[in-house]
């Protein structure tokens, strides 16, 4: 879901940064408005590192294995902190592993981060009723994971295919987008299930982690 360097024209890269900047600013502002923003910084920082590490877990999907995106889980656990966390995570990936890109950092942050914020709102819906907390957490955890990856894949496909310096006729383009989306459907389901399982685990073991939502 990361667009590497070199694929997108400078205009799109710049646009990515231009849009990501105010979203980052807004996220940081919301954080500063909380009662003790300073206390949350070590929390968010270590969780950023933890999420990065958790995404290294291999999920076997024969014949290969995949790494999960986890932006749904990030949104569910970190709330608005998810956006700077994703920005930092992508930065690490670009610099340490040459995965993703430096020019495309802004664009990738939007592709991963906006759905994370969306899943924050989706996951919060579990609070509409006080009853059956375990099931509500699981169901909305699944939705958070499933939807956020779906939106990310969609954004990725559309941005990549409309921006790369190639002449794709409309038919091919649409076919490519649909194929990409369909191919990712199993991944979306796995992400949904994984997110549900982790959120229920957290709810049982350390509910304070879900306090943001």
């Amino acid at each position: 879901m990361h667009i590497p360097d070199g694929f997108l024209p400078a205009t799109v890269c710049a646009a990515g940064y231009v849009v990501a900047a105010p979203v980052t600013w807004y996220s940081l502002r919301r954080i500063n408005q909380k009662e003790n923003p300073r206390a949350d910084i070590p929390k968010a920082s270590l969780l950023t590192a933890a999420f990065f590490v958790v995404s290294w877990i291999h999920i076997p999907v024969p014949p290969t294995s995949v790494h999960l995106v986890l932006n749904g889980l990030l949104g569910a656990v970190l709330g608005y902190f998810a956006f700077p966390a994703i920005l930092i995570g992508l930065f690490f990936q670009a610099v340490m592993f040459q995965h993703g890109g430096l020019t495309t950092l802004g664009v990738n942050a939007l592709i991963m981060g906006l759905p994370a914020l969306l899943s924050y709102y989706i996951f919060r819906l579990r609070n509409i009723t006080d009853k059956r907390q375990r099931i509500m957490t699981g169901v909305f955890g699944f939705l958070a994971g499933f939807v956020s990856v779906g939106v990310s894949v969609g954004m990725f496909a559309v941005i990549l295919l409309t921006s790369i310096p190639a002449d794709l006729d409309v038919v091919t383009e649409r076919a490519a987008i649909y194929t990409l989306a369909l191919a990712h459907l199993p991944l979306m389901v796995i992400e949904g299930v994984f997110t549900a399982l982790v959120t229920v685990f957290l709810w049982r073991v350390r509910p304070q982690l879900l306090d943001n939502t």
Binding site: P42, K43, V53, Q98, P165, T172, F194
Partner: protein
């Protein structure tokens, strides 16, 4: 767990000694200038400039090879697909597949930009300790919350990575082999992930306490850790001229190409 992007930060090239703030501005400008390029002739210049910068940095060739190997896979997929799918000028036919000119050009553009930008990125982050570069970014105006979070996250990345490794080893020693996909297996991995999150969360509470015991939040000092020399400034101006040169060169080349078409 070692993250080796700065394993050659100890070398002594001019790029190693360049003030990290100026190096960041200069090389990022070059990177963005590269992403601007769309004319084929500028590509040759791009490759030359990139190679020159890499050679000056004294970073080993093996470093470049290992670092570029993995990310090139995605590139390969695009390289193999685009020439057969994009454009309408057919150059050659290989059986049922038609090799198209526009696709080939697009692939060349993407590939060279990709490799050049990545190489400059290696020079930017490989010629100084990673943390020095982050501090340079802070000195350049990156918001304090973001830099604090980046530094803290980086600091604990290794520990948490080690934790994951230890837990995975412990699982393997108790017979969990994650080769087949199963609902049960996914559950175990979810618990593994959840445990990592919980442990990091709990550790963060101690880190916060340790920070306030040593006065976190009590003084805001603008840290001036970097001092640039006039040589650093000259190098910055030079490289900015190179970056501008690429943009100007590309615009001129494309205008010329358009004029020729008319």
């Amino acid at each position: 767990m070692r993250i080796g992007i700065d394993e050659y930060a100890y070398l002594g090239s001019p790029l190693h000694h360049w003030d990290p703030r100026y190096k960041f501005i200069g090389l990022m400008a070059v990177i963005f200038a590269f992403s601007f390029v769309r004319d084929l002739r500028m590509l040759a210049v791009m490759v030359t400039v990139t190679a020159v910068i890499y050679i000056i940095s004294k970073l080993p060739f093996s470093f470049w090879l290992t670092r570029l190997r993995y990310p090139s896979f995605f590139l390969m997929v695009v390289v193999l697909l685009l020439p057969f799918v994009s454009g309408h000028t057919i150059i050659m036919s290989i059986g049922p597949l038609d090799l198209r000119q526009e696709g080939l050009i697009a692939v060349l553009l993407i590939a060279i930009r990709f490799v050049s930008i990545l190489t400059i990125g290696l020079v930017l982050f490989g010629t100084a300790p990673f943390l020095t570069t982050i501090k340079a970014m802070r000195a350049l105006g990156l918001p304090a919350i973001l830099t604090d979070m980046t530094l803290l996250a980086f600091r604990y990345l290794n520990e948490i990575g080690d934790d994951l490794h230890k837990m995975e080893t412990s699982m393997k020693l108790r017979g969990f082999h994650e080769r087949r996909f199963s609902r049960h297996g996914l559950g175990i991995l979810a618990w593994l992930g959840g445990s990592i999150l919980v442990r990091s969360y709990e550790q963060s509470e101690w880190v916060y306490k340790a920070m306030i015991v040593r006065g976190y939040g009590h003084a805001v000092h603008p840290r001036e850790e970097f001092k640039a020399s006039s040589r650093d400034l000259i190098a910055l101006i030079a490289i900015l001229l190179v970056a501008v040169g690429f943009i100007a060169g590309d615009i001129l080349c494309r205008r010329e190409a358009m004029a020729l078409l008319q």
